[in-house]
Amino acid sequence: MHRVGFTTTVPLEVVIAAGKIPVDMNNVFITSPRSHQLIEEAEVDGFPRSTCGWIKGMYAAILEKGIKELIAVTEGDCSNTRALMEVLSLKGVETVPFAYPHDRQPESIRFEIEKLMRHFGVGWDAVNLSRERLGRIRRKVREIDRLTWEENRVTGAENHYYQVCTSDMNSDPDRFEADVDTFIAEARARSPFKDKLRLAYIGVPPIFDDLYQFTESLGARVVFNETQRQFAMPYDTQDMVEQYRAYTYPYDIFHRLSDILLELERRKVDAVIHYVQSFCFRQIEDMIVRQKVPLPILTLEGDKPTPLDARTKIRIEGFLEMLAG
């Protein structure tokens, strides 16, 4: 079956309705045992050192996996995606632009979704059917999230994994749903964790692979993964347009903050880790986050897919010690 790659969460319902295999290139890149080499390959091809590691990793992963069709998000996510799209078109990849319009108006969002539907030749009936099917899986993932913060039976890393996978349902919704079912049954049977500190993780998913494990080894568990939870579409909405309007990640920081502030309080979070990717425009928004979030914040910066470096570990340890008093 034909695979369709994409650069961040896009209306998955359309891809599924078209009978294609969805592939989130971020997940392919970060889970590759060659993730570090993929970045080097992109740099050899000419990508600047001072460009985000995710863009470079996705570029090389798309070529490595032989992806021929790619939905590229050109508004509401990273503006570097536009150049990525242009470079890939030279390599023979068909690119389909998709935008999350900054105005967040229902008609603008509907226009973008329908444009995508026209490209894949599907109508609303088919799309709504896949929305129902995906909604069932997303609600189960929402239960994993609830088990994380309300019942304390799920680790930060597990919470991250299941939510982040909803962007493409691991390219196989049925199998993913079965995995989710098994995990929920296992997690429900666990004894609750008794960590002292409850952390929130905000910002794009981490490029480090051991952040959650490291904080947990120091007695602090992430009970809120902001962006990953957004990928899992956590709200009950009437239709697709509302669903992608409520989704916070691609819109302005203030829309994101209203969700963050609500969840920090609901989940009784003690402190926040704000992850920023090197060379990403979202680094600038750290200024606003620091002004608006009324909790201690540690800003971490990551560049390439590596375990936490010694310096970042020192900063996390210092932060957690400070919180412990």
């Binding site: 310096r311 020192i314 900063r315 340890e317 210092g318 400070m322 008093g325």
Partner: protein, 257 residues
């Protein structure tokens, strides 16, 4: 008696305290010290303190040992407690200055830390991450380019030549360019010192206090102190033993402060 050890990137610092009284301070070049008295056991570092001769056998036998420093994650010292650098430096500054509310600026060999201290407790902190251009190592490099001692470099602050490179290594070629333009050495030195202050300003601005306590090896640079006062308009206090502040803090932690 308590022993505090701060294993920095350039210097390993040692402090012996009796209660709050400083009995002895010592330092060694880190690399030399590791070569002579350090060894890896598995993934961990072990130090042969007895062989180093810094402390007597009685002191080593009787004192509690607390250690901090960059090697913390790979550090194992038999019988020693390991604490984070930020905690060590705040404890040292509290003991050395007697102040309770201040902004601590610790400028070491590679690390620059800024900590906000309120009512004697750490309230927030920030630390340089990907770049060590605002550190003692930068000063050492620039002194070498100018063929001057660190002491000479440290004595100038007036009329600084502007240096703009964001990178400590590119800064060397920029400085060479300014030498070629014929600027007097005093102004070049002041320019180098000014660069450090400019780079830490965003971190300082985040944690505003009426007083800055400056520690770390760079605190011995009079030019930096003077320029820091000018640029911030605040009182800059350098404790008596700025470079040993972390080691003193480690030793003092053991008294239950």
């Amino acid at each position: 008696m308590q022993i505090g050890i701060d294993l920095g990137s350039r210097k390993a610092k040692f402090a012996l305290l009796d209660g709050e009284r400083i009995v002895r301070l010592a330092d060694h070049d880190t690399v030399t010290f590791y070569k002579r008295y350090g060894r890896l056991a598995g993934d961990e570092l072990e130090l042969d303190l007895a062989a180093s001769g810094i402390f007597s056998a009685d002191e080593l036998a009787g004192a509690a040992v607390v250690v901090t420093g960059y090697g913390r994650n790979t550090l194992s010292l038999k019988g020693a407690k390991v604490i984070s650098e930020i905690r060590a430096h705040v404890a040292g500054a509290l003991l050395q200055t007697g102040l309770r509310d201040f902004t601590l600026l610790d400028m070491g060999g590679q690390d620059t830390k800024v900590a906000l201290v309120r009512s004697g407790k750490l309230a927030d902190f920030v630390m340089n991450d990907k770049c060590a251009a605002s550190s003692g190592r930068y000063l050492e490099n620039m002194a070498a380019i100018l063929e001057l001692s660190l002491d000479e470099l440290s004595s100038h602050w007036e009329n600084p030549v502007k240096l703009d490179a964001t990178c400590g290594i590119f800064g060397e070629s920029e400085l060479i360019g300014q030498i070629l333009r014929g600027h007097p050495v005093e102004r070049l030195c002041a320019g180098v010192n000014q660069t450090l202050v400019t780079r830490v300003m965003p971190m300082l601005k985040r944690f505003a206090s009426e007083t800055i306590v400056l520690t770390g090896g760079v605190a011995r640079n009079r030019g930096v102190v003077r320029l820091l006062e000018e640029k911030t308009g605040l009182a800059v206090i350098v404790p008596e033993h700025p470079q040993h502040n972390g080691a003193i803090g480690c030793a003092h932690m053991e008294t239950g402060s």
